[in-house]
């Protein structure tokens, strides 16, 4: 099982798109740093992310969401905010990590 | 740090590898070999030339595996063996021979 991490905004980078193109059905995705802008309903990747979110877990680091003033109402419903402990748990639950940076 | 060969000051790194590929000449090679307690025979020189050609082609100082493979390719299977290179450039042929050939330290040689 692979955990993908993306740390750049989809408004200015294509990393999230590149990641989604490769992500398998059982893989998980964690958005962190500027990657959390990908959780916005207005993101260019919002439709693709929502589609992918139906199959399984998409996470965003809560501290990075808060720091950027991103509030729940603006976020895609498929995104689960997690804290640092959740981040660690995710990393241990997956045998491999692919970072898109 | 510097070497002094034929009145030339030649910059080297802390492990004695030349900083500039172009500073090398056969006298420098003999000097570097003497510091490794080696006196260079024809068998040594063909490996040194092979290494310099390798570096010109790839800009990489070969680690042991690549050196053995390239030696086999260029000089025949008899010489493309670690034992052969070990006898010529003990105790670590990739490092010792690269140094004498004036190449940078093999970065990928652990």
């Amino acid at each position: 099982m692979i955990l993908h991490t993306v740390n750049k905004s989809p408004f200015s980078h294509s990393l999230l798109e590149a990641c989604l193109a490769i992500m398998g059905a059982k893989h998980s995705l964690l958005l962190l740093e500027d990657g959390v802008y990908g959780t916005l309903k207005t993101s260019p990747m919002a439709a693709a992310l929502a589609e992918r979110g139906r199959a399984g877990a998409i996470y965003a680091l809560e501290a990075d969401l808060r720091a950027r003033g991103l509030t729940d109402t603006a976020l895609l419903s498929c995104v689960k905010p997690i804290d640092y402990a959740g981040f660690v748990r995710l990393a241990t639950e997956h045998s491999k990590v692919q970072s898109w940076f | 740090m510097h070497l002094c060969v034929n009145q030339r000051r030649i910059p080297v790194d802390k492990d004695g590898y030349l900083k500039q590929l172009d500073d090398w000449d056969p006298d420098v090679a003999r000097y570097l070999a003497a510091r490794e307690n080696l006196s260079l025979s024809a068998a040594h020189w063909e490996i040194i030339e092979l290494l310099r050609e390798f570096y010109r082609e790839f800009e990489v100082s070969p680690a042991m595996r690549a050196l053995v493979k390239q030696t086999g390719k260029k000089l025949g299977a008899e010489k493309g063996r670690s034992i052969y290179l070990m006898q010529l450039f003990p105790p670590s042929p990739a490092r010792v021979a690269s140094k004498i050939a004036g190449l940078p330290r093999p970065t990928n040689c652990l």
């Binding site: 992500m23 491999k96 692919q98 970072s99 898109w100 | 970065t107």
Partner: protein, 120 residues
């Protein structure tokens, strides 16, 4: 001990940061340990494979000069993302190495089959 399946995954173009060269150095170093090593080029990283990269004016070493050394290190499992090549108007004939071009679903499967992924 069974060899591990280790895949080095490149996602960056060659000279904007040092990652491409660092990746190559990691591959060359890892090759000494007789593991099952492979190399994958995704997205802009396929630009690392272009022929005739003349880096003299950058005072950097050229990737197109160094990458052909890989077979001498017995690194022969080298893959490129077909969709990335297509998007950039490149074909295998433009590349400095003989790579296997893979569709995205094949890449997913290949990554799933690895023990270790190293992202560069």
């Amino acid at each position: 001990m069974n060899p591990k399946k280790i895949m080095v995954i490149n996602t960056h173009a060659p000279y904007g940061k040092a990652t491409a060269r660092e990746s190559l150095d990691a591959v060359l170093a890892a090759s000494a340990y007789d593991q099952d090593l492979s190399l994958l080029f995704l997205g802009d990283a396929v630009f690392q494979l272009l022929q005739q990269q003349d880096t003299a004016a950058l005072e950097a070493k050229s990737l197109s000069t160094a990458l052909p050394v890989l077979p001498l290190y017995d690194v022969t499992a080298i893959y490129a993302q077909q969709s990335a090549l297509d998007a950039r108007g490149l074909t295998r004939a433009d590349l400095v190495l003989d790579v296997e071009c893979l569709e995205n679903h094949q890449i997913t499967a290949l990554m799933d089959s690895q023990d270790i992924l190293l992202s560069f």
